[in-house]
């Protein structure tokens, strides 16, 4: 068990609900993942006639906690208004705060994210801030009232895995008591296992599962990788070395001669 935003959880995998081949496959993939937190969004009414009703009916029937996002927002004002609409619509004060600063790589705007985080935490939100892997930004977000951090591994949907392990490692080391979720850019189960071996509290995924040939199987693969990585972290990884150390005892090696 672990805890985030006052909620005790078994699973360290949070999963998105977008880009699946169908709502039914989304449901099966979420179930297979074991995730207890799923991300959702808001879009203009009527932008996908009929589709959102099926999607929403399925989600409401599932025993999961919803984490709405402010995806697509490019300004503090848009993000704040979207968060407020999400709070009313989904009945939760949780918000995955996204303030996009660059359309090409969907890199979050650090300045806008901090400003919006301050407004939202003052307004009673539990802000899950989507952020780059910058140490000072992490400090500013915590100063703004965030109680957790969500640095990216790589740009959203890129599948590149952790592109800057040193930056993420620094955030982990500097904020040992703060829940840190690696969000965005993971492509393979091994990427998620690595994040967990590094001591992160959880992983948030969407595209890597939804766009797999078999999303349900991939959801299972990620769930197992995350468990394996976390167990490895808790077990204590051996220090790596630049030289070999024999695992088989040397003493008593047959045919050994001192002068060889």
């Amino acid at each position: 068990m672990w805890e985030i935003a006052g909620t005790k959880l078994q699973s360290r995998l949070m999963i998105g609900t977008a880009r699946y081949p169908s709502p039914e496959i989304m449901q099966k993939a979420i179930e297979a993942s074991g995730a207890e937190i799923v991300t959702v969004s808001l879009r203009r009414q009527g932008s996908q006639p009929g589709a959102q009703n099926v999607f929403w009916d399925i989600l409401r029937s599932m025993p999961v906690k919803l984490l709405p996002n402010t995806a697509g927002c490019h300004s503090v004002k848009e993000a704040v208004a979207t968060a407020q609409m999400a709070r009313e619509l989904f009945g939760t004060n949780w918000i995955k705060l996204e303030v996009i600063g660059d359309d090409y790589n969907l890199q979050p705007d650090p300045f806008g994210t901090v400003e919006a985080a301050k407004i939202l935490t003052d307004d009673g939100f539990e802000v899950f801030p989507y952020m780059t892997d910058d140490l000072v930004l992490a400090e500013r977000l915590l100063d703004a009232g965030c109680k957790m951090l969500m640095p990216w591994a790589a740009p959203i949907g890129s599948g590149l895995g952790i592109i800057n392990p040193m930056a993420l490692k620094t955030i982990r080391q500097r904020f040992p008591g703060v829940p840190v979720i690696v969000d965005a850019g993971l492509g393979k189960p091994s990427h998620a296992a690595l994040a967990m071996e590094m001591g992160f509290d959880g992983v948030l995924l969407n595209t890597a599962v939804a766009m797999a040939e078999d999303p349900v199987k991939m959801a299972q693969a990620f769930a197992q990788a995350i468990n394996a990585g976390r167990l490895g972290y808790e077990a204590g990884l051996m220090p790596s070395r630049d030289f070999a150390t024999p695992s088989t005892p040397v003493v008593g090696t047959p045919f050994w001669h001192e002068n060889r």
């Binding site: 609900t17 959702v40 203009r44 009414q45 989904f90």
Partner: protein, 66 residues
């Protein structure tokens, strides 16, 4: 008067409220949220908030997201 609803220009008569606009859309209002000119308007205010000429109204519903 002219207003925008989800980015589309519409003609509206004076004195209408957000509640009237949502009713015209015919959707389940329990699963809609509204902002006017970029500011969130809580559900409790929908019946009291009159729309003015030039207002830009966003009506959103739950969608998939990552």
């Amino acid at each position: 008067m002219k207003i925008l609803v989800n980015g589309k220009p519409q003609e509206a008569s004076g004195g209408i409220t957000i509640k009237d606009i949502l009713a015209k859309m015919g959707a389940d209002t329990r699963y809609l949220a509204v902002a006017v000119n970029g500011d969130f308007v809580p559900r409790s205010e929908h019946g009291k908030t009159e729309i003015r000429d030039g207002d830009d109204i966003e009506v959103v519903s739950p969608q998939a997201g990552g």
